[in-house]
């Protein structure tokens, strides 16, 4: 019942915070969020799952109840964690607590509603990573949208309404496509009468669907694969479905950006791993390997080029997510132990690093009220600590050894380079690695202009050092980034343990 406890604490906390007075809402929400954070850390230390959740692995903290019976189909409450979801749950709880602390300065109106929504998102994100019945999972998946829509729409920047609606429409349409595809798949499977993902996976790997509405089994499986890929691709997001992301990020308030980049994008890659690359047998995936790898590489390069063209610090960080998530896709499609394992590791790592970067940009914006690279220079003079962290985060992004980004990217490249199922894997990997050069280029370029040199600022605000509660969460993140960089096996072992069965049961090409 540990997972239920996590979700319940966050949910109840959300309602308590929502009706609490504005003045105490921030502190209250933080205090509440510490409970799931501590619980999840304890769960992490006591984790005893093995294997992959969808492939008959031993789940940690699992529970299952009958829920709804409709005709012959039944829906049950089925949750549990394996080596892939455990680190992501910890990432969610920690990042939520830190995001709440980092909102204390910038959020100065309707606080109780703001923090209530943040806790509500946290509850649903935990649910997304823990749920193993399609319906339960889908409910959490969709329920994340509503609070994020409101966070962007109410507390966002000047173009918040446009950004909020764009975000909502894009991701909701994508969800509908994916939902329809999955339902068609279950109908097509015939003898499967539950929506439990392990059951569906077993049936998929054991012959696949018989067909539905006159569409043959193999065709149906391929169509569903494509539809689900598109559905998740928007969430990730990968080129050409990325256009909602910069808008949403730039307009979103800092803490929402932290959660958006840190955890929400991972929902997409997590779902890709769970559904597309675990459920489908090799012969269905095979024709799509080259196109997906190509899309991944295009995302890496194109996202990085777009970032290079920006002058808004937040936009730079936002576009760099497109490029980082391209690496994750490349690792997934490689379908090797290092590729998929590295991609999963990179999900966690990118969550930490992008969270850190958004916080640092947010702190600088709070002090200067501008994010334009052209408006400032020599910030290191006035805000040494915040700027120091920004630089450290940027190095993490570039993949400096001993920081988590290095291990994630290195394993992905290593896994992708030697991928046997991926033709021209060396070419794809080399092209993707070129992305690192561009990333280093735009980050150093931006830092050079804003951080170093003589102090200059084109606004009327007095720049002061950030208060401790703005700096502290960034130090926690930096500590975690270095910890995972030095000792990646802290989570990499449990990840590979859950990844290996995927490659054994048919994924490996």
């Amino acid at each position: 019942m540990m997972i239920e406890a996590l979700i319940a604490v966050a949910l109840v906390g959300a309602f308590v915070t929502f009706v609490a007075p504005n003045r105490i809402a921030g502190k209250l929400a933080f205090a509440i969020s510490l409970i799931p954070a501590a619980l999840s850390l304890w769960m992490f230390s006591a984790f005893d799952g093995s294997g992959n959740a969808l492939l008959g692995g031993e789940l940690a903290f699992a529970s299952e109840f009958e829920w709804i019976q409709f005709g012959e189909y039944s829906i049950s409450w089925l949750v549990g964690l394996d080596g892939i979801s455990m680190p992501l749950v910890v990432l969610t709880t920690i990042l939520s607590s830190l995001a709440i602390v980092s909102s204390w300065t910038p959020i100065d109106e309707r606080e109780s509603q703001f923090y209530g929504l943040v806790l509500f998102i946290e509850a649903n994100l935990i649910g997304v990573f823990a749920a193993l019945d399609f319906f339960v999972w889908f409910i959490f998946w969709e329920a994340v949208l509503i609070p994020m829509y409101l966070l962007i729409g109410i507390w966002g920047g000047p173009r918040r309404k446009y950004a909020a609606i764009k975000f909502f429409v894009y991701t909701n349409v994508a969800s509908l496509v994916m939902f329809g595809a999955f339902i068609a798949l279950v109908f097509g499977l015939g003898d499967v009468t539950t929506f439990a993902l392990p059951d569906v996976t077993a049936a998929m790997l054991d012959g696949g669907p018989d067909g539905f509405l006159g569409i043959g089994g193999t065709t149906l499986a391929s169509l569903v694969f494509v539809a689900m890929f598109l559905g998740f691709a928007v969430k990730v997001p990968i080129v050409p479905f990325h256009t909602w992301l910069p808008d949403a990020h730039v307009e979103a308030p800092t803490p929402a950006s932290v959660l958006l980049a840190g955890v929400l994008l991972k929902m997409g890659t997590y779902a890709l791993l769970r559904f597309n690359f675990t459920m489908f047998p090799a012969e269905i995936i095979e024709p799509f390997v080259i196109p997906i790898a190509a899309i991944a590489v295009i995302s890496v390069i194109y996202g990085a080029m777009l970032a290079l063209a920006q002058t808004d610090l937040k936009r730079i960080v936002a576009y760099s997510s497109v490029s980082s998530m391209g690496y994750v896709i490349l690792g997934l499609i490689a379908l090797t132990q290092f590729g998929v394992g590295g991609a999963t590791f990179q999900m966690v790592s990118h969550g930490l690093i992008s969270g850190l970067m958004f916080m640092a940009v947010g702190v600088i914006y709070n002090a200067t009220h501008t994010r334009m690279v052209t408006d400032m220079s020599g910030m290191a003079d006035r805000m040494p600590v915040a700027v120091g962290i920004l630089v450290a985060g940027a190095f993490g992004y570039m993949g400096l050894p001993l920081m988590s980004g290095f291990f994630g990217e290195f394993t992905i490249f290593f896994g992708a380079f030697g991928a046997e199922g991926l033709a021209y894997s060396q070419v794809f990997t080399a092209l993707a690695m070129f992305g690192i050069v561009i990333v280093a280029g735009y980050l150093l370029f931006a830092l050079q202009r804003t951080v170093f040199g003589p102090y200059h600022l084109e606004t009327d605000y007095d720049v002061d050092r950030a208060p401790l509660h703005d700096i502290a969460p960034m130090f926690v993140l930096l500590g975690l980034i270095i910890l995972l960089g030095v000792a990646p096996e802290l989570i990499f072992e449990m990840i590979t343990d859950a990844v290996d069965p995927i490659l054994e049961t048919g994924g490996e090409l």
Partner: protein, 506 residues
Amino acid sequence: MALFELPAWTALAPALVLALTAMVLFIVDSISPDSRNSGLLAGTTAAGSIVSLGVAVWYILAGVGTPTIDGGRGVIDVLGDQFVVDQLALFFMIIVAVVTALVAVASYDYMEDHTYQAEYYSLVLLAATGMSFMAAANSLVTIFIALELASLPSYALVSILKDNRGSVEGGLKYFLIGALSSAIFVYGISLVYGATGHLQLTNIAEVVEAGDADPYGGLLGLGILMLIGGFAFKTASVPFHFWAPEAYEGAPAPIAAFLSSASKAAGFVIAFRVFTEAFPVADTASAIGVDWTLAFVILAIVTMTLGNFAAATQNNVKRMLAYSSIGHAGYALIGLAGISAGGGELVMGAAMMHLFVYGFMNTGAFLFVALAEYWGVGRTFEDYNGLGRRAPVACFALAIFMFSLAGIPPLGGFWSKYFLFTGALEAGLLVVAAALVINSALSLYYYTRLVKAVWIEEPVTERDALAQPVGLYAAIVVAAVMTLALLPLFGPVADTAVDAATAMLA
């Protein structure tokens, strides 16, 4: 349980309690005719409907209406089969009682300064009685009487704001179209009687099954078509829908909630009963040459599409909700469209579930409009801008209703729409299922528009602190909590609905 010793007519208790409460209100009113004691009146109304709800829930739990082989107590006939109390009847009696209770509690604040308080509440109860009886009526005569018992008070309720032009106009329009529809309906009854020689649904079915109605196939078909017209009016389905926006807009908002939720559900229950009991699909088709479910397929698609498109173009919140309620009638019509196919009980059960969820979410939405009218903030989307700052709790509830109406998980509306979708697919109604999905996606536009107005837009005018009327708030919060609570509770609701549908189609 003591249920066995009760005489059969007590099975109608949920409806009788409502009628009795109306009588109590008459007595209260005659003792102190000038009474402005709205607390007593609203309290009595709410208490009466909650007792009715309690009795209905108790009956369902005690197994009234469930087939005896399942350990239930079987269907109970009253007055020589004129009424039946089965799961279907109890299910809809629950919906009616719930909506009546919410409306009564909310009306306490809304009607505070109006005259005709006692009349208002007793009319609400009489209409509710009619709707409750509609759920149990088992012969075309009792159906017609119950229908009129529900309709006549409704006409008066719509126009009860005598000084308000919109109210009177809406009431008149409602009345004229209602009278016309009643005439069509009763003419349809006479044609069916002429063709079959019976009014009781089961007897009609026997005649149709035996093929004795075949020589009068045309007559019977025309009669059925006219019956459909009557239902279309009561459920605000195309083509008898155009009274609804006028009437809902003009009516006091709690009455709009009442009509669009309870009255619509009651219209559907007679449609479900008449078409499953009296006109078995295959035999009727051989008699009249057409499969009548085809009519409902067309009606469902046209109604949901027209309702949603019209709702998307509205600037007035109440009219938007009125058109959206037409759209939802289209969703519920799927329940009738699919019953001829295999898995028909799932489609019908899904439609019942949708009406159940709708009873909470739509009532809640209209009650929010009542709250806005109470505050005097105006009627357009712009007038609602920024209300979230002043009334976060009510606006939070509104967001729940809107997202639920749009069918976003995890709210109740998602579940019922999902079951309608799978039900329609199982019944092979691909076009209808597709129309359902497209319309749901479209509806997201105008539902989020309201959420956006109250939460995201800046207020156009500065407002003082808004009053927090206890009754309206309580009703809205209860409706919101129920819309959310249906998530864990959907299992039993789904079971009851599908069981009831299975029994009807057996």
